[in-house]
Structures are given as structure tokens and as C-alpha cells.
Amino acid sequence: MSEQSAPPPAKGPLIYRQSIFTRLTHWTWALCLFFLLLSGLQIFNAHPALYIGQQSGFEFDNAVLEIGAVNSPQGPRGQTTVFGQTFDTTGVLGMSGSVEQPQFTGFPGAVTIPSYRDLGTGRVVHFFFGWIFVAALFIWFLASFINGHLRRDILPKGADISGLPADVIDHARFRFHHRRTYSPLQKLSYFSIFFVLFPLIILTGLTMSPGMDAAWPWLLDVFGGRQTARTIHFGVMVLLVLFFIVHIIMVLLAGPLNELRSMITGWYRTSPGTPAEQGDKP
């Protein structure tokens, strides 16, 4: 509060935050996850039910999710059963489309590729983008290990754990600090994406392959059977969609232009008062 102190600069320094590998893989994943999600829902629609165990119970019940249509006095209705609880999901799951032309699919055609039922095409799209997705992850891990991104920005350290409560409060108050490194919550989210969710969705996807189950039989033991793996694959998909929604909200709240610039050019404007370092731009 001393009158002599210089006013803080209006802007923090512009720092080079995202390497070319991070940026390229980021946009590759954005594209891949879009196609993987929509073709994945197409594949799911071929048998819109999820089970626990090695096989699907047709003469016994091991289903945890079932989407279908039932007849009611008011006509057909969409119905979803989750863990034994049945919900009317007409218009979204089991039955969607217009009253004149109802569509009896698990997920509606608006969120599947193609928009009509075509399992073969769903599989063509899914496996193409699956390969690209895995290749990008491989490149990212290799590059991030070499250029230090993993150690510096992704792996949470002691300070991140102790700083977590304060960071949670800051986020809850929409107070964002544009620092040189990620905040504890950011680190934890990206860490869970790269070390938990991405490996899980790839490995559970491979567990559904009868060929891979012969090559790596431990997949069946780790995930408790092919049908459990399919259920986990679906669950991780839901978590990734939630991550996407929060990710977009955070970009919008934290300053979409600055965030987009950092993921396109690599350069990121820090908060006022951030100490400048060599290599920064004013």
C-alpha cells in the first residue's frame, strides 16, 4: 500500500507453454474422441445392454444397464433400466424421433455415426480413429517424457496435494490464476486422463477383441471378463464426456481466447504479477 511502489504491470508475461507435440496431439484427440464417441454409441446400439462377467445373461440376470422400448396403454415408450431401477426415457433412450416416425434405438440417431443403424460402418469409423487415438497417445507420452512436460506439468507433487484445498476454493469462486504451471486441480485432472482414463478405455476396448484376449489373456482377469470390460469401456466414456464438458466450461471461464491461443500457438498470457523468465515475451 506504499505510494512509492510501482503499479503492477497490467499484464503478466507471455510464456511459451504448450509444445508442438502437446498442441498437435490435443487437437488430434479432440477429433478422434468426437468420432470415437459417436461411432461407439452406434456400436452400443447394436446390443444396448451392459453386463458384469464373462458373458451376457440371456437365461440369468447379470445386466447393469438395459435400454429398450416397451408397449404401454399410451403406445410404445422408451425404457432404461440401470442397476434394477427402471426409468421412462422416451424421447432420448430406447425411443426417440418424432411421434409420426419414432426411432427405436438405444441412443438417438442425432448422436450416432451414421445417424441410422449401421454397425459395420460404426466399427469402420471406431477402429480407424481408435488407431489414431492410440498413436497420438504414444507420441505424446514419448515427447512429454523427453521434453519434461510430464514431470513438470502432469505428475502431481507434494505441493500440489497440499495446495489442493485452496485450489478447490479458488475454482469454486471462479478465481483463476494464470500461472506458469498448471494448478493442482488441473494437474490431477490431466493426470487422471493420461494415467487412468485413456489407458483404461484402450485396454477395455482391446479386451473386447477375441484376438487380443488370446494374445493377452490377463486382460480378461484384470477387468473381470469381456462383458465387464465392455461395461467399464462405456463408463469411462461417460467420464470422458463429463471431463469434456468441464474442460470447455473452464476454457470459457478462464478466458477462451488466451486458452485457445496457448493450444494453437503455444503462447499463454499469465496473470499480472507473474515473474518473467528468460524466453518470455512481454
Binding site: 459417436l38 446390443h47 469402420v124 480407424f128 488407431w131 473386447m208 477375441p210 494374445a215 470447455i248 470459457l252
Partner: protein, 263 residues
Amino acid sequence: MSGVILNRRKLLLGSAALGSSLALSGCNQFDFLGQRGNPVRQALEQANVLTYRAQRALIGDQVLAREYSASEIRQGMKPNGSTEPTTPEYMFLRMQNFSQYKLTIKGMVEREVSFSLDELRNMPSRSQITRHDCVEGWSCIAKWTGTALGPVLDMAGVKPEARYCVYHCYDNIQKTLSGDIFYYESSDLVDAYHPQTILSYGLNDAVLPVSNGAPVRLRIERALGYKQPKYLHTIELVDDLTPFGRGKGGYWPDSGYDWYGGI
């Protein structure tokens, strides 16, 4: 405080924009990918060739699919696809309890051979409790009994130029104006000679029922259900799959499914 309000407004605006863009993004702009022969689709289909090569490189030719214990058989084998072929030829065989049935091995072989059901049953048998994985996503565990295909092929003497087995079936899976379309499938010789690849005539300790492919169904245990042709009558050794059906090596591959079917 005002900053917080502003940000909350931004958040609401942002989520509204996101929600409406999601609702508007009906996906029929990608329906062209469903057109067989579309160049973009053909490019994407190359990933299936990569999957085939990668799995062949990664998985040893003799590596077995998991076999389960008898306690894992918790239900009957779910029938799917054709469950009751209606061609006169098949109905005639069925009426006589398949006593007139012959399995023929032909094509690029030293000698064309045929075996009756009794002859197949008298060959060394193998039983395996395996998981049947349908391309739709479901799985079902059952016990399959039959004789290994490899030694049967060796009795015919596969010529060195042969690269694939084409499996011809009795079931008219699709009836069109220009006649019936019969189910057929094919595999490379790795799958054909795999120790678990059997000509199965028994299911869950009983005679293979019609709904599951009687009298003989091929099992290729490291592939999806559509690679396990039912109602098998002829195995043809070839070096090219294009002359059959629409040239993709199987009834389902002809309608856009990947030929390898290992994933």
C-alpha cells in the same frame, strides 16, 4: 463479487451455447461414411487391414483362445442369424437326420474329398468350452465338440498356392428378388489350421441343434461370431476371395463388416 456474477453469467451463456450446439449437431452429415465404395470410407477401412496385420504379428499362430470351466456354462448357446434354413436341399438332409450329409473339401487341393457326418465323428475329437463373442457386443459361453479342421485339410492336401479357405453354407440368410443369398465366410490358413478351429457337431454335450448350425458348424475361436459359419457343406481352398459373393470374403464382410473379425 461483481466479477463472480459476471463469470456466472458467462458460465450460463457458455453452457447454453454448448448445449444448443450439441443438440443441433445431428450427425447425418457423416452418413456418407455408410456408402460402401465411398473413397473416404475406403481410406478408413484400411485401419482394418492394419488391425489384421498387427494381430497376426502380435498373436502367435498357435496361441489358444481362453477355455473356461464347465461351471461357466450357465445358459444355452444363444442362436443368432439363420436359425432354420428353408432350402429344399437342407430340409431333405434334415429329414433324414443328416445321414446323407457330406462335407466336401475342394479347390486348390491335391484331391477333392468328402466326409459323412459319421466319418467326421469317428475322427479324433476335441471339446472346448469357449466364449462366443457376437459382433453386436454380447458373449455366450458354451462347450463345442468336433474334429480339428487342419488334419481334415491335410487329407485333401492343400496346394502351396492356396491362401484362403472359403466356407460355403446351406442357409439362405437373405431372400431377394433375384434368388436366395447363401451364407459364406472365409479365413486365412492360420485360422484354418489353428488347433481350436474345429468342425463342430456337438454343443454342450448334445448333438449340435439346427438353430446353432447342424450338422456342422466351424469354430474359429479367436474371431467374432460371424466368422463361425453354420450349416457348413463345402470348404474351398482358393488364392483369391473376389470371385465369391460381392468379393469381400463373406456374407457380412460383403455388407460392410471387416473381413478379419478378430476385434
